[in-house]
């Protein structure tokens, strides 16, 4: 349930998506690491807040208690702490596991790829953070998925808001989880969850509501920096100061057109400590799809300065910021748009075949064929020479296949050439090379 097999046509398209993402990560100087799919259960404990119930645990069969990784961030932090690394720019492309309610049409699976890029180390403020946002911008532009928006916020600003609205510190994290639902439900429902389930006073909830419905750009940052209450809060002030710096850097990158400082952005996970961001695709005006494509965010991330210290025996902190690209959701969007017949053009760059023609799932250059019986040995000798010369070659696994069947196989699978050896060619020491589509032959 919630998992799927990927047939060849899927794998071809997915590998192209992954390659596009990895190309961007490498462009930013990241090195790859790999970690096991299973972690000690205790490594994952206390990192995911309300989502912890979605962790897959392995059976106790003797030995260590294990669980499947839930994301690539916690394993990265564990890796840094175990190896005492204080400075690293890494990417990691691998599958993660969540016992979530699958919603496969929206690209939500229980096993899915994550593509993570993270920068660990003590640096000057917001320079690595701005690079992470730039990376999201580059990838979503490269993939030509249509218009998108990158929402940014800061956990310190949110906590500052909660504080000045009269929320006790013990309720910051649960309130944060509730704010995170603003993307999916109207403010009224979020408000009643705050009051009903999370036990906030109606006044506090209303005051929060005034803030978290704000979004804008540098102007909003300036306005909040002047806000009589927020400007008195140390956390909020720090967060707003850094947000201003972030916008400055993103202006130099020339990408503020797609950035929105959005106070409703909260992100579900416990471990964020500073800037957070999330990219969403925007419905396109010229898209005439019956069901609107709704896949949630396609990328997200943020700063988590405390996570590595949780794995270090002496609690030594390594500040980190990172981004995760939701390749599976992007894949689902492409699939749905393909089905809806839209976006031919955009797909074309990623997969000319998928945009119209049949997807070729193999790369075979030539089929070794024979026109009469009793020529298996000739085929085996020729194909062996081709393989040894590095040429991608196939033959039918029959002793005496009909020529028509062999040429049909080329057409079915898109093999462009057939190398034909008959008695005459054998005697003359040549092969007939046939261009399958043009039906032209040369002897060589």
């Amino acid at each position: 349930q919630g998992t799927r097999d990927h047939p060849p046509a899927h794998v071809v398209l997915r590998d192209r998506l992954l390659a596009a993402v990895v190309t961007c990560f490498k462009r930013h100087g990241a090195a790859a690491i790999d970690t096991p799919v299973m972690e000690l259960r205790e490594t994952l404990t206390g990192k995911y807040g309300e989502e912890a119930k979605l962790i897959y645990e392995l059976q106790d069969q003797g030995g260590e208690l294990l669980a499947l990784r839930y994301d690539l961030t916690v394993p990265f932090a564990r890796y840094l702490a175990m190896n005492k690394i204080t400075n690293m720019k890494r990417y990691h492309v691998a599958k993660v596991y969540r016992r979530d309610n699958p919603a496969t049409t929206r690209g939500r699976y229980r096993e899915f790829y994550q593509c993570d890029f993270d920068i660990a180390g003590q640096f000057d403020p917001m320079i690595p953070d701005a690079e992470c946002v730039k990376i999201v911008h580059e990838i979503l532009s490269d993939l030509q998925l249509g218009d998108f928006l990158i929402k940014v916020n800061d956990r310190r600003i949110l906590n500052g808001v909660f504080a000045v609205c009269g929320v006790p510190e013990s309720k910051f994290i649960p309130t944060c989880s509730t704010v995170d639902k603003l993307e999916k439900m109207p403010w009224e429902e979020v408000r009643s969850e705050m009051v009903g389930e999370k036990g906030l006073s109606p006044e506090a909830a209303d005051r929060i509501g005034e803030y978290v419905q704000l979004h804008g750009g540098l102007d909003l940052i300036e306005r909040l920096l002047q806000d009589p209450k927020l400007s008195q809060n140390k956390l909020a002030k720090e967060g707003l100061g850094d947000m201003k710096l972030l916008f400055e850097y993103l202006t130099l990158f020339g990408i503020t057109g797609k950035i929105s400082f959005d106070l409703s952005l909260a992100r579900g996970l416990d471990y964020y400590t500073g800037v957070i961001f999330e990219a969403v695709l925007l419905q396109q005006e010229n898209e005439h799809v019956e069901e609107p494509v709704s896949v949630g965010s396609v990328a997200g991330g943020g700063r988590y300065d405390g996570l590595v210290g949780m794995f270090d025996p002496k609690g030594r902190k390594v500040p980190c910021v990172g981004v995760s690209i939701g390749i599976e959701r992007i894949f689902s969007i492409l699939e749905q748009r393909l089905k809806a017949g839209s976006l031919r053009f955009h797909m074309y760059r990623l997969s000319p075949q998928a945009a119209g023609e049949k997807v070729r799932t193999t790369e075979t250059q030539v089929l070794v064929a024979t026109p009469h019986k009793h020529l298996l040995a000739a085929r085996l000798k020729l194909i062996s020479e081709l393989w040894d010369a590095g040429i991608k070659a196939e033959m039918l696994y029959k002793k005496d296949p009909k020529l028509l069947k062999q040429l049909q196989y080329c057409e079915d699978t898109g093999i462009p050439l057939a190398a034909i050896v008959g008695e005459q060619e054998l005697m003359d020491g040549v092969v007939k090379l046939r261009d399958v589509a043009r039906r032209e032959e040369v002897r060589m």
Copy 2:
């Protein structure tokens, strides 16, 4: 336990190994599939014989009972049956999981990559089987790991041997498992396990011993075809006939020099039904290593004509033959040889750096640097232009780094160029491009 993190230098080398293997699989016209890391427990039940106890099970957290895949063959068979595919040539590169006693110096881990190539479908005998053996030969030759031997045998020949030696059919599979240990222990110990644990008569064991210690080529096949007892056994006769055909095809491929028909080869898994094969690296004469490198087989496979039928409600069979490349073991050999200082030359092709120099784990082409303070904005603007132009570029995440530190970073990480912008360059609208190794600069 038994798993490991892979730091960047590992991943770089491993990805090159994997790429070499995948290149070969594609050369043979295979398409890629991907399946989930977890399977239903019942899918794995009854497929692995004595090894079943090594399967990782997931905790029952409600819903389906799951286990981690043990190999890629059973998921492939399940995939074929579920999708009613009767004809497919596929490869699959993915990690598999075994609760084995780890022996990490010999490359035996609990999580490890398998690289599988399989041909499913009803074809003329031994043509796909010969291709699988050819693939092993190509990969081990390409990787230049030194001399190797590919042992081949056939389950039908082994079963014929057991039958004519007086073993009851119910004991074929346990006897097979015992014969499989001949590679690791002397005949005397194998014999006593047959008699003591498996309950064979001493006479039967002795008769088996006469057969399973034989190995050779076409001559041995011919001799056994004349063997008064074996030639009367239908299974053995079929197996020997096909073995002769296999040698005929491998002769056309020109690779019989590295093939040994070895009656001691049995392979552990239950599902094989015909030809089986296994590749071992041979200790090289000129290798002066203190501990001999012993890593077991580096590739293996065989024919399994009954496995797909086990997943089909109507039991419809799809004959299959396939090969699995033990990339993790090959990686361990390379690591050990590197440590032992041998095999510089062979490594060179795979990894010039690993053969002597430091491994570069990133591909960054240029570092954007500034020579004085207050030039962060200039760096951010320039690096953004480079990224947008597809150039792999980095900068230090400091507002005012020293030029020397920046050039040192290039030397440490192998970045060949530094693009330097100072006040003068900004005014002139140029950058100074510095060749880090040669210490030469041009303005452009």
